[in-house]
């Protein structure tokens, strides 16, 4: 049995209630989704955004609305985020405002070679590879996590994850720039899903040929924002749609419920894509979000975990959402 780990609360976060559940959210950020105008109006988007910004104490615009109409504001850390969100939600032109929920990585095993690869034979992967080892065209793996192992100079430096032609480096929503992994979780996840194989190095991934699109939303502590998650998901889906690909996005993290994460799931589902999300490793707790949205969207798959002896991992969460 793995030791139960206490994941540290990231800085600038507070505990509170959101959508009737206990959740952790950032005390200095707020998500606002703007309505799509139903008729032509003289008011520009910038004016609407500015009017909302002025309604926020110490408000700054951190990220302008994307195509889906969602913007991110910085707020005075002393503000009651929930009260402010409820007030802003009443404004004309605002669909909803909500705290930026903090997601954390699904429990990180302390042993770096924890998987030790029992899992691939266990799921009969070798027989599957006889039939298919992963197409390089038409299919894409998206990984929204803590990034991928890179040198400070920005070069892929993991021996199993360094085929530059396979990896598409997306946005680093935490620090900007390329998604360099400062935690280790994202590199680990990429290895399991897609490590180069038949190369005599390190681990073997499940899929050897499909391209991998990496976005970083989880920081060095393993925590990340719901807004960043949603933006990363939309970025990857948009890329796949533009390139006529099917994408399977991996998110081995989660936390409290949020409209923003739900709408990201909706975005994946509406475009016919798949999001595989961890059910969570809180030792039989309720399934975390976004995995729990698997009951709403066929495109969301909640994944629990089992041990090598076919018992449910004692750290795996339980619920009707688990595939």
């Amino acid at each position: 049995m793995l030791p139960k780990q206490k994941i540290e609360r990231p800085p600038n976060s507070i505990e509170g209630q959101w959508q009737g559940r206990k959740a952790l959210f950032y005390n200095n950020r707020l998500i606002v989704k703007f309505k799509t105008p139903t008729e032509k109006t003289d008011t520009s988007v910038a004016d609407v955004v500015e009017s909302v910004r002025q309604a926020i104490p110490g408000g700054t615009l951190l990220r302008a609305p994307r195509g889906t109409g969602r913007a991110l504001f910085g707020i005075d850390p002393g503000t009651d985020v929930v009260v402010l969100a409820n007030e802003l939600s009443k404004l004309a032109g605002v669909e909803y405002a909500e705290p930026d929920v903090v997601d954390t990585v699904a429990l990180v095993p302390t042993d770096p070679r924890y998987v030790d690869q029992w899992s691939l034979p266990k799921v009969n992967a070798p027989a599957a590879w006889d039939a298919v080892t992963g197409s390089a065209t038409g299919v894409l793996i998206g990984i929204v996590d803590s990034g991928i192992s890179m040198s400070a100079a920005g070069a892929l430096d993991h021996p199993d994850l360094n085929d530059a032609s396979r990896y598409i480096l997306g946005t680093d929503y935490v620090d900007g720039g390329t998604p360099r992994d400062l935690h280790g979780h994202g590199t680990h996840v990429a290895g399991i899903a897609a490590a180069e194989s038949n190369n005599g190095v390190g681990v073997t991934g499940m899929n050897w040929g499909t391209g991998v699109y990496i976005c970083r939303t989880l920081d060095a502590t393993g925590s990340g924002s719901a807004a960043n998650f949603a933006d990363a998901v939309e970025e990857i889906v948009d890329y796949a749609v533009a390139n006529n690909m099917k994408v399977v996005i991996n998110y081995s993290g989660g936390g409290g419920a949020s409209n923003t994460k739900q709408q990201a799931c909706q975005y994946v589902n509406d475009h016919g894509m798949i999001l595989c999300a961890a059910a969570g490793n809180d030792f039989a707790g309720p399934v975390i979000f976004p995995a729990a949205y698997s009951t709403m969207f066929d495109g969301v798959i909640a994944v629990g975990s089992t041990e090598s002896d076919d018992t449910v991992s004692d750290f795996s969460n339980h619920g009707p959402e688990v595939i």
Partner: protein, 229 residues
């Protein structure tokens, strides 16, 4: 850390079946999972543990058992039988019999079995089988009227129909000709035939001497047959 395993697997499944909707991929993951908990689903086990080998093959079009391919046709003694089968490059035949020849890389293959109209072949993914080409249009489905008529030769003489029997084996054509000839000179009854000498018949029919003696032989056979001997 099971999530990326499922992610990689789902991408494998989509590599094999690019046309699948996300709902089909999800359903295949569920259907192919090894059920480990009690019942088909429970909150702890979900739908079971994924099985990559089964999942990637989920949705393959496979005839898992030997497929019996039967040809229906209306035929006569002169009919040649033709079976049309469409094959794709992925078709794999695991059993071939001597009277069939396949060229799996062409879109249509044609073979003409002369002795049997039923054959057994195992078809693997993506095979489409037709017993007639799709462009035949509205040919009625096989039914009673499609069953093979039995060709039954017969001999008619003296208002009696005689079916081939042991006596006539090998001589049926000749006997038919003799009966026809006899009728052409007005001999159409057993009595008339008995009253006619072979030499007279021979002369009446302009048979040669050799043919005349053969005629006598045949006529006697015919008489014996007609007399029920």
């Amino acid at each position: 850390m099971a999530t990326p395993l499922v992610t990689g697997l789902a991408a494998l499944m989509w590599s094999r079946h690019p046309g699948f909707a996300n709902t089909k991929i999800r359903q295949c993951l569920i259907d192919s999972a090894l059920k480990l908990g009690p019942g088909s689903f429970d909150n702890a086990w979900g739908n079971g543990r994924v099985q990559a080998d089964k999942a990637v093959h989920c949705g393959d079009l496979v005839f898992t058992q030997f497929t019996r391919l039967t040809v229906f046709t209306r035929f006569t003694r002169l009919t040649q039988f033709t079976i049309f089968t469409r094959f794709t490059p992925i078709t794999r035949f695991t059993s071939l019999t001597s009277f069939t020849r396949f060229t799996p890389l062409t879109s249509f293959t044609r073979f003409t079995p002369l002795t049997s109209f039923t054959r057994f072949t195992r078809f693997t993914p993506f095979t489409e089988v037709f017993t007639r080409p799709p462009d035949w249009g509205t040919v009625p489905e096989p039914g009673p009227e499609w069953e093979a008529p039995v060709v039954r030769p017969f001999l008619r003489f003296a208002n009696t129909v005689f079916e081939p029997d042991e006596l006539m084996i090998g001589r049926f054509e000749e006997l038919s000709g003799v009966a026809s000839d006899l009728q052409s000179i007005g001999i159409d009854s057993l009595d008339q035939l008995a009253a006619s000498s072979p030499s007279r018949l021979s002369s009446l029919l302009n048979y040669s001497a050799a043919d005349g003696s053969r005629l006598v032989d045949l006529a006697q056979s015919l008489i014996r047959r007609l007399a029920g001997e």
